[in-house]
Amino acid sequence: MAGVVIVGAGQAGVQAAESLRRGGYAGAVTLIGEEPVAPYQRPPLSKAYLAGTMDLDRVILKPEATLAEDAIAFVPATRITAIDRAARTVTAEDGRSWAYEHLILATGSRVRRLPVEGAQLAGVHYLRTTTDVDGLRAELVAGARLAVIGGGYIGLEVAAVARKAGLAVTVIEAAERVLARVTTPEISAFYQDLHRAEGVTILTGTGVTALEAGADPARVGAVRLADGSTVPADLVLVGIGIIPNAELAAQAGLATTNGIDTDTNACTSDPAIFAIGDCASRPLAHYGDRRGRLESVHNALEQAKLAAAAILGTPPPPLEAPWFWSDQYDVKLQIAGLSTGAARTVLRGDPATRRFAAFHLAPGNRLLAVDAVNSAPEFIVGRQLIARQQVVAPEKLADMSISMKAIAADPA
């Protein structure tokens, strides 16, 4: 009766439960989540759900009734606080406990808090859950001044939604360019130009030292910058990264470095325990012996399927190149692969047309990554070539008269 217990009912957790059932797993499957709602997807939270064009029903991945039909015991609003590896049980804050034969940790990540004075003021928002969005959306009124702290994907997506809603938006980024941690200078430059053309003010290389109250002493009124100047703000969105929820695993003695350490099967240092999604550090297939944590839907789904296959004793699914997307204004970015370590970047198309791709090549011209802006063929073919660790001819990639289908057939 012990079966599989999954801690964390987000993108990864619900996929693991479903993959177990689709694979014919006959034992009990228990899906325990801290949030009070049915499992939902996060990408729309900074896009259509924030804009109000997609409602909660559509953000939900699996309604409770569907989970029940699949004999997945869903336990919402329950935080697991301890794992007893010897007894093979997990215990919740309220004392309830569950026995497992296999345990899957899918605890995701939490937002990094802004470590400055005034960060607790009203009007300061973060974005991770539907509750966060509900609070932020209520304050997205035309004419209000929004300061976005952190020029990562979430900050920039919120900036785009807020501009469309008629707010005045300033993005404040500590690094020399937006998206510095996740992408290359070409793409950063493109997004800075895009947002400026849409009327957003972007400040790079700019640190924040405090948040200051306005007329209402309990509410934010301005952001104090490192040079002493201030940016007036009626509301603030902080998007400065996430921290993996790995403490539960660490307390139980599982190996953790940056997240919970896992092997190619998503298995932790305890053979009965798996870790998947944002909380897990994994070997990065296609990239030699590199390891790391990936914060994406694709990673959550892929690791969920790996863990399910290992528990079912079936062959693991083929590993795909990691990928991610971002929607801002009418621009769709699709990224495949990891560009770290690239020796050169080849541009295909003209950024000014808002339709181009940047291919990132390792020494020797093996394709490492592609950033495709409104360019599905470049993304799809790039992803396949990355998974094959293919060596490519840079001059072909740069030549728009050679189609991506032709390049797929003869890349080198």
Partner: protein, 106 residues
């Protein structure tokens, strides 16, 4: 609510009531119809929600947008009646729609 018929590659049929305003993809993934993966959740970014629209319904489901068209161009087994099901919004007019699923989405 409009009823949509999903026919798996194996021939198994599922008739699902799908609310107006949601999509053909959501009707499948929320009701245990296997064969539509929808990895990106409807963002027109993954092409794992490919379906074949029954010929009789092509006029009502309309034509793909340019992003959808170029994603579809690279899908396995694409046919003239191929669509990404996350891009077909459910309207009252689509009551009775029939879609067939490909053998695989990856």
């Amino acid at each position: 609510m409009p009823k949509i018929t999903y026919i798996e590659h194996s021939g198994t049929e599922h008739v699902i009531e799908v609310p107006v305003g949601s999509t053909v993809m959501e009707g499948a993934t929320k009701h245990r119809v296997p064969g539509i993966d929808a990895d990106c959740g409807g963002a027109c970014a993954c092409a794992t929600c490919h379906v074949y629209v029954d010929e009789a319904w092509l006029a009502k489901t309309g034509t793909p947008g340019s992003m959808e068209e170029s994603m579809l161009d690279f899908a396995e087994g694409v046919e003239p009646n191929s669509r990404l099901s996350c891009q077909i919004q459910i309207t009252a007019e689509l009551d009775g729609l029939v879609v067939r699923l490909p053998s695989s989405q990856h």
